[in-house]
Amino acid sequence: MRRLNQRQRALLLLLLAAAVLLAITLAGALLTGRAMETDFSRLNLAPDLPYLFGTDWMGRDMFARTLTGLSLSIRIGALTACVSAVIALVLGVAAALNRKLDAVFSWCIDLFLGIPHILLVMLISLAFGRGFLGVVAGVSLSHWPSLARLLRGEVLQLRQAPYLRLARKLGVPRRDLIRRHLLPHLLPQFLTGLILQFPHAILHEASVTFLGFGLSSEQPAIGVILSESMRYLTTGRWWLALFPGLALVGVVLLFAALGEQARRLLDPSSIHQ
């Protein structure tokens, strides 16, 4: 086989990670029915065929439950990461272009970064009445500040770029300046930030749900599975928490790898490596 160059390898890894994540998401969505199915003839089975991850105290298939939970987590993660990245982009760019807005937004950013993350997610989630909406609002409204600050700094620097100042002198309308000169330069930061926000969002969703401030307990979310399984850990049913927990870590690592490969492809300082 022909040897791949660095860039092709990075692209391949990126596509592979994306494919695995997509497969998990789809599989989970298709298995939702099986995950809810109770069967009292197969209570508390240890991992074996055909139940790879075992079954729980209501005879539900843990493999299906784990996949469904991951799928839900990924979907929530995707939604919240996108919402918060877009908030970050809009606020960051607006702040950099307007001095008064900048004062307000910078203050907001400092405020949000000053409060512990998990506390903020819990408070917002509670305010929105928990459940799906609560989690999405909580996670997406608390994850924008660091990316917003990064983008704001970037825009402030770009504003001083001679090519932008010259375009302004040539009479290029403001709208075109932003679209043509600002946004393309922000794209690498934005995309990398967006992808790296996924694991964050997923972990936070799982933790608020685990703590009982997130998704309701009838949904097969990873957080719900973990918090229920905690009660059975002492009775020797280790598989109930171990496999879902490992799977969650695996998904987070996959997203981190995805972000890292994306950064390698987009980062100008290593673009020819």
């Binding site: 001679p162 090519y163 375009a167 002198k169 009479g171 043509r180 393309p184």
Partner: protein
Amino acid sequence: MSLEAKSLTFRYRRRGQSPVLEGVNLTLEPGERVGLSAPSGRGKTTLCKLLAGYERPVQGTVLLDGRPLEQYKGACPVQMIWQHPETVLDPLLPLGVSLNEAGAVEERLLEELHIQPGWLTRYPQELSGGELQRFCIARALGPATRYLLCDEITAMLDLITQTQIWDFLLREAQRRNLGLLIVSHSAPLLERVCTRIQSLSPIP
């Protein structure tokens, strides 16, 4: 009808030091080519930036036809061509996009500046300084332009590119009756291309 600088003073805000420019007066008429020579560090580039409206003077005004320059909206009639063309071209845009970003540039200009059609789809880092400078000049010659400020525009270029560019600029300036301010360290060059040479010193 002219571009006038009236007792311009400029200093950078941060350093509480002496001004870069103090009480500078300059008049540029249409069709005139004024050479500006001064030792390095005397604010020639700063003067160009003031005249083109990139910076605001601390004192004094820049008048175009008797009206303050900042009152002109849209494309500025005074365009500056920078010494380093690679800094004024967006690295992420193909040159054709940068070239036409403020309206399509006449085909004739591209031909006379020897801009090859194949360059339009390339990115700035793929071409040399001399080639990029041609794009910057073509772009600066929009229909609204009446004065061109040339800040060491060929200092980094090889001699043949330098002659090509000046050959073109002199013809174009004549054709459109443009006023040119030409900054250069090279005395022979200024003698070749200018109608009058002014040294940068305040008039007492």
